[in-house]
Structure formats: structure tokens, C-alpha cells
């Protein structure tokens, strides 16, 4: 059952990722992106990352994608069907480069599947134990507020800087 669900989510994720690239309309691209994010959230659930799946749907698909949609509407691009793919030598080189990158990644991952260093640790059991003891939120909140509290606070400062920067950049007369 889990394998079947994984296959479905993976197919939807990759298919709509291709949709993001090939859609002519920015809004269509955005909707494909939301589908990708939802499918990846499904894969997160299958990998026992329940809290991250919820955050993915609420923050990524809910907030960030709506921000993109606002900008598309603000710039009035919703009916922009003009082709903007690069053609000719550029696209041939792009496909060659990304094909090479794909080959390299698949080769390296195939090799790492043989070597047991990365993929056979017992971290999954530790996560399952933490999930059973503290619940989906507590399992990730405990290390976040103990061992990783300094990065957490730094990320808060980063968000503040981003808010101020976005307002300064988007304002007409500063």
C-alpha cells in the first residue's frame, strides 16, 4: 500500500514539476507547483515527517505560493500567453547540461545505494520512538528548542530582515 501511494505521489510530483517548466501561463505554472508541493507533502507523510508535511501544505503551498499569485496579479500577467522558452543552441545546451546533471546524480545515488553508509543508519527508529513518545510536533520541537535554538533565533532575525527588505524594495518612494 505504501509503495503504491509512493508511486502515485512520485508520479504526480514529477509530472507537475514538468508542468511548471512547460506551462506558458504563469498561473498555470503556479498551479502545477502547488500540485508538486502537495505530492511532495504526501511523500513526507510516507517518510514519517508528519509535521513537515503539514508545514509544507500550510506555509509553502498556502502562503508562499499565494505570495507568487499576488505578484502575478499585481503585475497583470494572468493572460500572458507569450512563448518565453529559449530556443536554438541555448535549449540544446540546456538539455545537454541538465541531462548530464541527471546522469551524474542517478549514478552517484545508485552507487550510494550499494554502500551502506548513508542509507542504513538507525535514525529512522529514533524518529519513530520520538514520534511515539512526544507526538508529531514534539518530536521535531524538542531538538529545535534545545540543540538548535541558536539557528532558530537566527532564522527569526533573518525573517525580520527579509520583511524590512521586502518593504523597502517594493515601496515606490523610499
Amino acid at each position: 500500500m505504501a509503495d503504491l501511494l509512493f508511486f502515485v505521489f512520485a508520479t504526480v510530483a514529477i509530472g507537475s514539476a514538468i508542468g511548471v517548466v512547460v506551462a506558458r501561463n504563469p498561473v498555470g505554472s503556479l498551479m502545477s507547483m502547488v500540485a508538486t508541493l502537495a505530492a511532495v507533502a504526501g511523500i513526507f507523510v510516507l517518510l514519517e515527517a508528519h509535521f513537515l508535511a503539514a508545514v509544507q501544505v500550510i506555509v509553502y503551498a498556502g502562503a508562499i505560493m499565494v505570495l507568487f499569485l499576488f505578484v502575478i496579479m499585481l503585475l497583470n500577467l494572468g493572460h500572458d500567453y507569450e512563448r518565453d522558452m529559449k530556443g536554438g543552441v541555448w535549449s540544446v545546451m540546456a538539455f545537454a547540461t541538465t541531462g548530464g546533471l541527471a546522469g551524474l546524480l542517478v549514478r552517484q545515488l545508485g552507487r550510494s545505494a550499494d554502500s551502506p553508509t548513508f542509507l542504513t543508519g538507525d535514525g529512522g527508529d529514533a524518529i519513530d520512538a520520538a514520534l511515539a513518545e512526544y507526538g508529531a510536533v514534539g518530536a521535531i520541537a524538542r531538538p529545535l528548542f534545545t540543540d538548535y535554538v541558536v539557528p532558530f533565533e537566527l532564522v527569526g532575525i533573518l525573517l525580520l530582515v527579509a520583511i524590512v527588505g521586502a518593504i523597502v524594495l517594493a515601496k515606490k518612494d523610499v
Binding site: I43, Q56, A166
Partner: protein
């Protein structure tokens, strides 16, 4: 399932890279960068099944940085659009105006 998730992540990353290279609409290029970030998140979650909860914590931080980056990047896009009346990167041909 870890290896399969890593392969899916690699494919999504490559598709995002292709999108950044071949599209000229700056908003779609930006969306493709988000696609790449999301592919990396998927790889982190897959590795967390082997190395522990730290993989999921990194995804948390990546999402926050992605949100900050989207806010600032879209503000820059709006600012550039006011000047050039276009979102096509080929029209952005001056470093100074």
C-alpha cells in the same frame, strides 16, 4: 523507500534546473528555484530516515529561508517591473539605470 525518494528528489531538482535555464519569464524562473529547494527538502527528509531527526530540522530551516527569499525576490521583481514594464529577463540588459 529512501533510495526511491532520493531518485525522485534528483529528478525534481534536474527539472527545476532545466526550468531556470530555458525559461525567460523571471517569475517562472523563480518558481523553478523554489522547485529545486523543494527537491533538496525531499532529499533531507529521505536522509532523516537514516541519520535521525536533524534531517527534518534542516528542512524546517530551508523552508524559512525560502519564505524570506521569496518575499525579497518578489519585491525585487516588482521593483524591476516598474522600471522595464516587463518580466522577460532578456530585457533586463543594464546593470545600472
Amino acid at each position: 523507500m529512501i533510495t526511491e525518494a532520493l531518485f525522485v528528489s534528483a529528478l525534481i531538482f534536474v527539472i527545476g534546473t532545466l526550468g531556470v535555464i530555458v525559461r525567460r519569464n523571471v517569475i517562472i524562473m523563480f518558481l523553478c528555484i523554489e522547485l529545486q529547494l523543494n527537491a533538496v527538502n525531499l532529499a533531507f527528509v529521505a536522509f532523516s530516515r537514516s541519520v535521525g531527526i536533524e534531517g527534518q530540522l534542516f528542512v524546517f530551516f530551508v523552508m524559512t529561508v525560502a519564505a524570506a527569499e521569496a518575499a525579497v525576490g518578489l519585491a525585487i521583481i516588482i521593483s524591476i517591473f516598474r522600471h522595464y514594464e516587463s518580466v522577460n529577463v532578456d530585457h533586463f540588459n543594464a546593470l545600472k539605470w
